[in-house]
């Protein structure tokens, strides 16, 4: 199921542990099934499911204690990439850790826009916010990620001086 993999990838970076992430994806697909009569045939099914999942996540977050949660990085296997290039593996680990340290609203737009490839317009629909807000949030999120990485002294990605 292509969408469940995509949904799980994002859920794992929003929730506090892998089981909670799977529960969130399951909840999203169940809600999708129950509200399928509202789905417009031919429209963007993936974006629609992400909208359902993020609504469920934010509803859960409101009732739970608000914390800067992140999935522990030592679960899951990096796969074939891991052994072949330790420098690249370290860079990937750095950026994953940096992403996990961002505020949830920055982490969310980066996951949707950069990792999952949604356009700003699609993200606006998924999060029910104006496209202008998506654009400024993405800019700030990219900047925040860059600053986190720079503070870990990754010289390749340190911010350049701008006149």
């Amino acid at each position: 199921m292509p969408h469940s993999r995509s949904l799980l990838r994002v859920a794992r970076r929003l929730t506090s542990n892998p089981a909670a992430a799977e529960d969130l994806v399951q909840e999203a697909l169940l809600r999708g099934w129950r509200s399928f009569h509202q789905f417009q045939a031919g429209s963007n099914a993936r974006a629609w499911l992400f909208r359902i999942m993020l609504n469920a996540f934010f509803a859960q977050s409101r009732t739970a204690e608000a914390t800067a949660v992140m999935t522990p990085l030592d679960d899951g296997v990096e796969g074939a990439l891991a052994g072949s290039d330790p420098v690249a593996a370290a860079e990937r680990e750095d950026i994953r850790r940096a992403l996990g340290e961002l505020a949830v609203e920055h982490r969310t737009v980066l996951l949707l826009g950069v990792v999952e490839g949604f356009t700003c317009l699609e993200i606006a629909g998924i999060l029910s916010i104006p496209i202008g807000t998506v654009m400024s949030r993405l800019s700030r999120a990219r900047q925040a990620l860059r600053e986190r990485l720079a503070s870990r002294a990754s010289p390749a990605l340190a911010p350049q001086e701008r006149r």
Binding site: P2, Q26, F39, G113, Q160
Partner: protein, 256 residues
């Protein structure tokens, strides 16, 4: 375009959704402004690293997928779900589950002509979701003529013992079709027809009858058949598997 514009537009540039005109201006500015070029390059590289880093951590979803399917199946057959949907027909529930799987769980497969046609049949004919149908004979003939189709087609497409009940226009795979619903009093079947052969029917033709190619497939719980010649394309959708859709297509190929 100046550096301030570049900053403002960069999210839509980086997502690839900037329109061609502004996109070309954006690229022009980068050619002449090293600071902006460095900035966009840095963000592009950061994005690529983030994407690769996150996607390299993909988990296996086999067990999760199975749990979700089981949960949906058990909900679909629960008495509460049946009452909620206003029908006791298990076949309809299976169709709904099939339709949901078609459109959502299976991602982009099946799409296009067959996917759209079977989905329309399920939502509009079986589920009877509200639509603006045309019912009067004269109105249906006028609608048919406006689509560049001969009105004699309405009878030629009718399966044996079925009568034309209603019709309307719809879009399948982005193209306008006439959606006709025929009934024998107990069952309803959908025929979608378009006055051209400007589209490719999936799969090889099963038969050729009177110079018309006939195709068939199964999509979820429904069977679908297609008929194409130089002047028109018609799709026949029947609920359940078996020869019904193919028989209708063969009959129509002989009658045309």
């Amino acid at each position: 375009m100046n550096c301030t514009d570049i900053t403002a537009l960069s999210p839509r540039y980086l997502s690839g959704e900037l329109e061609p005109g502004p996109c070309a201006e954006f690229a022009e500015h980068l050619k002449s402004c090293p600071d902006c070029a460095r900035e966009i390059d840095s963000l592009t590289r950061q994005d690529a690293l983030l994407r690769e880093a996150e996607r390299s951590m993909d988990a296996d979803t086999t067990a999760l997928d199975r749990r979700i399917r089981e949960r949906i199946s058990s909900e679909a057959s629960a008495p509460r779900a049946m009452r909620w949907m206003g029908t006791a027909a298990a076949a309809v529930i299976a169709l709904l589950l099939g339709g949901f799987a078609l459109r959502v769980l299976l991602g982009p497969h099946p799409t296009g002509l067959y996917g759209d046609a079977t989905l329309d049949h399920r939502l509009e004919v079986i589920d009877r979701q509200p639509r603006r149908w045309i019912s009067g004979k004269a109105d249906l003939e006028a609608l048919t003529a406006r689509q560049g189709l001969p009105v004699t087609l309405l009878a030629s497409l009718a399966p044996a013992a079925y009568r034309l009940e209603r019709g309307k226009l719809c879009r399948l795979d982005g193209r306008v079709f006439l959606h006709l619903v025929y009934s024998d009093g107990a069952r309803e079947t959908s025929v979608f027809v378009r006055s051209s052969s400007d589209l490719t029917i999936p799969g090889p033709a099963r038969e050729s009858i009177g110079g018309r190619r006939v195709f068939a497939a199964e999509v979820g719980e429904q069977s679908i058949a297609a008929l194409q010649d130089s002047r028109l394309t018609a799709l026949f959708v029947a609920s359940g598997h078996g020869p019904a859709a193919m028989d209708m297509a063969r009959e129509a190929a002989r009658a045309l």
